[in-house]
């Protein structure tokens, strides 16, 4: 086997050296990085749309279960029934997600997706419990995938918020996401942030990734720094998979 190893080694060097390679242009590389960063927002949104309707255990609900934002209790109803095409698309988009956080190994990405799936399950279970608690307190609420929806009036909102605070306090804390999963969340948030800037919003500068991870994913959101009255619009136009 050593003979063939030597032959292969020599042949590989011959082959690689036989083509002249000039250094790449760093400016072009940086431009490519910026184009890719702008494009990520679109990719991320597609991933979110596809993976949340898939029933594959390691993919279902992925990236949709990042740490809940303050006030993020309302969600839209579930998507269409999953089919084989959606599953294939989800697999392809999952690989896009790997591309988004290209320095993660495939095993790490699978670990992160499994965490998101488990976290999503807990989030759904929590939503049911939260809905029951609010109903018991006298509120009419609708339970969605990862939260509850209440159609109230300004007059009653303070009382509702008080009930919500009480009910939330009674809920068990969800276990924190791992560093690997938080890196995926950070990439997701960063893409949304880039999208917001491109659309003319003025969010605060992103938190450093290390600080974001140290905060357990709660130290920064893409819309941080945008005035309250515009934050919802920014989030709608540049959604993350956390919603």
């Amino acid at each position: 086997m050593n003979d063939i190893e030597g032959t292969v080694r020599a042949g590989l060097h011959d082959m690689a050296d036989d083509v002249g390679w000039s250094p790449l242009d760093a400016g072009e590389v940086v431009s490519r990085h910026r184009r890719a960063r702008r494009a990520r927002a679109g990719v991320v949104a597609v991933v979110a749309a596809v993976v949340t309707v898939v029933s594959v255990p390691t993919v279902a609900g992925s990236l949709g279960a990042a740490p809940t934002r303050p006030g993020g209790d309302v969600a839209t109803p579930g998507g269409p029934v999953p089919d084989a095409t959606a599953q294939r698309e989800a697999t392809a988009q999952r690989d896009e997600a790997v591309e988004v956080v290209g320095d993660l190994t495939e095993a790490e990405m699978v670990q992160a997706l499994a965490e998101f799936a488990a976290d999503r399950d807990r989030q759904r279970a929590d939503a049911v419990v939260l809905g029951e608690c609010l109903t018991a307190a006298g509120w009419q609420v609708t339970v969605h995938r990862n939260g509850v929806e209440w159609q109230g009036t300004a007059l009653s909102s303070a009382a509702y918020e008080a009930s919500m605070t009480t009910c939330r306090a009674a809920q068990p804390a969800r276990p924190p996401l791992s560093e690997v999963a938080l890196r995926v969340v950070y990439a997701d948030y960063l893409a949304a942030h880039t999208c917001m800037v491109a659309k003319g919003f003025a969010p605060a500068e992103p938190l450093d990734e290390a600080a974001f991870i140290a905060s357990g994913g709660a130290g920064w959101y893409p819309e941080t720094g945008i005035p309250e009255e515009r934050a919802a619009a920014a989030s709608r136009q540049c959604p993350t998979r956390a919603r």
Partner: protein, 177 residues
Amino acid sequence: MRGTHEAFSSFVREHSPSLMRTAYLLTGDRGHAEDLAQTALAKAYGHWSRVEAADQPVAYVRRLMVNAHLSWLRRLASTEQVVERVPDPGTDDGHAARALGGQLRDALRELSPRVRTAVVLRFYDDHSRAETARLMGCSVSTVDNHVTRGLAALRRLLADDPELVPARTRTHLEETP
């Protein structure tokens, strides 16, 4: 920021040819090689502080490149057909005249992408088995399996043209049952 850009530019000048050589062996195509190396460097630029903090920044970028390469192949496999061979480049990059290099290029094209990647990382970049496993995101035993299969296939393919295989290798092959 200016310091970052200068450091990155210097890194690209110094290391991009080496990265493209590896990329060329992985993809079998000059255009794809440049694209792959550029993709890896663009990702590296996005995490430049992490790259600079790495023990071996070049190894870090090489890992990004291998990940990107295998990711492309996975995406192709899930959206088209399973790609077991790289497409013919269609143009002569000038290396065909070099007998062993040209013959090896044809033989490499017969290997599956993961097997080819393992062979290139082990015998061109001289990575250890453990480092190759880390770069490919798999176990050492999987790397061993890929390398064994790759070398067996290359030995068979290269032996088909005795004019291009060193005599020592041919003798060894003839003695192998």
